[in-house]
């Protein structure tokens, strides 16, 4: 692996417009951050805020309107479609989803230069306390981190358990809301933010 940051999101905006004729934005998400070292990162935010859009842009399956996403020094939009998951892999619940709209032939694009994904994006993983799988899932996230991977876990908390899990396993956080992706250094600061407290409602303690 190169010395480049594991993930650098440089001046990225994603704009969905109302239609081909009506160009007023219906949705806009602005993202700019970088993460140099392995970590387990929690991502929270309301439904429709853009959590999955963020993950798709990191995985290279959603093209940013402007800016670029760099994974381990590779511009995701320049990497061959079939090799993007060797850099960033997006797990949607239990399935691994990737739909790439192919606009350029692979031979003009760059190889991923990696055989096992650098960034692992877990989109709303299903946590069920009854069956005990949670413990294995948390250990797996930690193992990936110890193998120098960057792990994202996106959750829309609907139970105290979800917050408990995020607090146990994540070392830093992002809150997606109002078109922004805001960083927080730890669980204490994210749950102290008034916007986040408002979003968590009764779950905020």
């Amino acid at each position: 692996m190169s010395d480049a940051p594991l993930l650098a999101i440089e001046g990225v905006s994603k704009i969905y417009r109302r239609g081909l004729l009506n160009r007023t934005p219906a949705f806009q998400l602005d993202v700019d951050f970088r993460i140099d070292k392995p970590a387990i990162v929690g991502v929270m935010g309301p439904n429709g805020a853009g959590k999955t859009t963020l993950f798709e842009m990191i995985a290279g399956s959603n093209v940013p309107t402007r800016g670029r996403v760099m994974v381990a020094g590779h511009d995701m939009q320049r990497v061959r479609y079939g090799e993007r998951d060797r850099l960033a892999i997006h797990y949607h619940q239990s399935y691994q989803v990737r739909r790439f709209s192919r606009t350029r032939p692979d031979f003009v694009m760059e190889p991923a230069g990696s055989s096992y994904p650098v960034v692992h994006l877990f989109d709303e993983p299903q946590f069920n306390t009854q069956d005990g799988y949670i413990g294995f899932m948390l250990d797996f996230f930690r193992r990936l981190r110890s193998e120098r991977r960057l792990v994202f876990i996106c959750l829309h908390p609907t139970a105290a358990l979800h917050l408990e899990l995020l607090r146990e396993v994540c070392e830093r956080f992002f809150f997606v809301g109002d078109g922004q992706v805001r960083p927080f250094a730890d669980y204490g600061t994210i749950t102290a933010d008034p916007r986040v407290r408002n979003y968590l409602g009764a779950l905020a303690v």
Partner: protein, 247 residues
């Protein structure tokens, strides 16, 4: 070297990665369990191990031989049998006939095999012996269709045993069984332990934890945990789950 080994299996269907990086090994004489939530890739993994799918990368070794990409038939002939989630029985035939047909010496005979089978004392004895092993000694002359669900499952295991496998794969053997059926099946699997190397894919954690020597947990197409039931139970989240409460 273990009896069966899989190294770094990777498989994708189109844009979707279904197995990311799976390495497993099954020791002779043991019962190894594979478990994981729905959609984790258990059955796909099973299909790669038993030759139905060829992995994009990785190797499968049995008894020291590389069997990656060999046909299911070739793999079966080497001594690997499997049962299915959906049962494969000849419904119009009796329990005895289902087992007799599966015996290698019957299959060598061809079309009239079933008729002749009744006249071959050694073969009759062997088929009855196998039915006895799975607890169907009294059911030999019943039509497969008329057997209750749990016994059909036992009969399917008898059919797999008739090939005299070195390694027997069972795919979700408790699927569709009630608690009584599960307990009876657990007894049967316990009896088979030691006679044949077993690999059981199961969704029911309780079932596996009570029977397996070692367990691999599969999720997101990867092995996320591995160990003996005692080792896996030390996980605090497992302790607090229903499974932990049973211990």
């Amino acid at each position: 070297m273990a009896l069966f080994e899989a190294h770094e299996l990777h498989l994708r269907f189109g844009d979707r990665v279904v197995l990311e990086d799976i390495s497993l090994s099954f020791e002779a004489g043991r019962l190894s369990g594979i478990m994981g939530p729905n959609g984790a890739g258990k059955t796909t993994c099973f299909n790669v191990l038993t030759g139905r799918y060829r992995p994009d990368r990785g190797r499968v070794l049995f008894d020291g031989a590389d069997i990656t990409g060999r046909s299911p038939q070739a793999i079966a002939r080497m001594g690997i049998a499997r049962s299915f989630q959906l049962m494969n029985l000849f419904d119009e035939f009796t329990a005895f006939e289902n087992v007799a047909i599966a015996l290698p010496q019957t299959r060598r005979r061809g079309a009239d095999a079933v008729g002749q089978a009744y006249g071959d004392a050694a073969l009759v004895a062997e088929a009855h012996d196998i039915l006895g092993t799975v607890g169907l000694g009294q059911r030999a002359d019943q039509i497969a269709k008329s057997l209750p669900y749990g016994e059909r499952r036992a009969l399917e295991i008898a059919v797999a045993l008739a090939c005299r496998p070195k390694l027997l794969f069972l795919d979700e053997p408790t699927a569709g069984l009630g608690s009584d059926g599960r307990a009876r099946l657990a007894d049967l699997v316990r009896r088979l332990k030691g006679q044949v190397t077993l690999v059981v894919i199961e969704h029911d954690m309780e079932f596996l934890f009570s029977l397996a020597d070692d367990i691999s947990v599969i999720h997101w197409g990867q092995v996320i945990a591995q160990g003996s039931p005692a080792e896996l139970r030390t996980n605090p989240w497992v302790k607090n789950s229903n499974l932990g409460k049973l211990a």
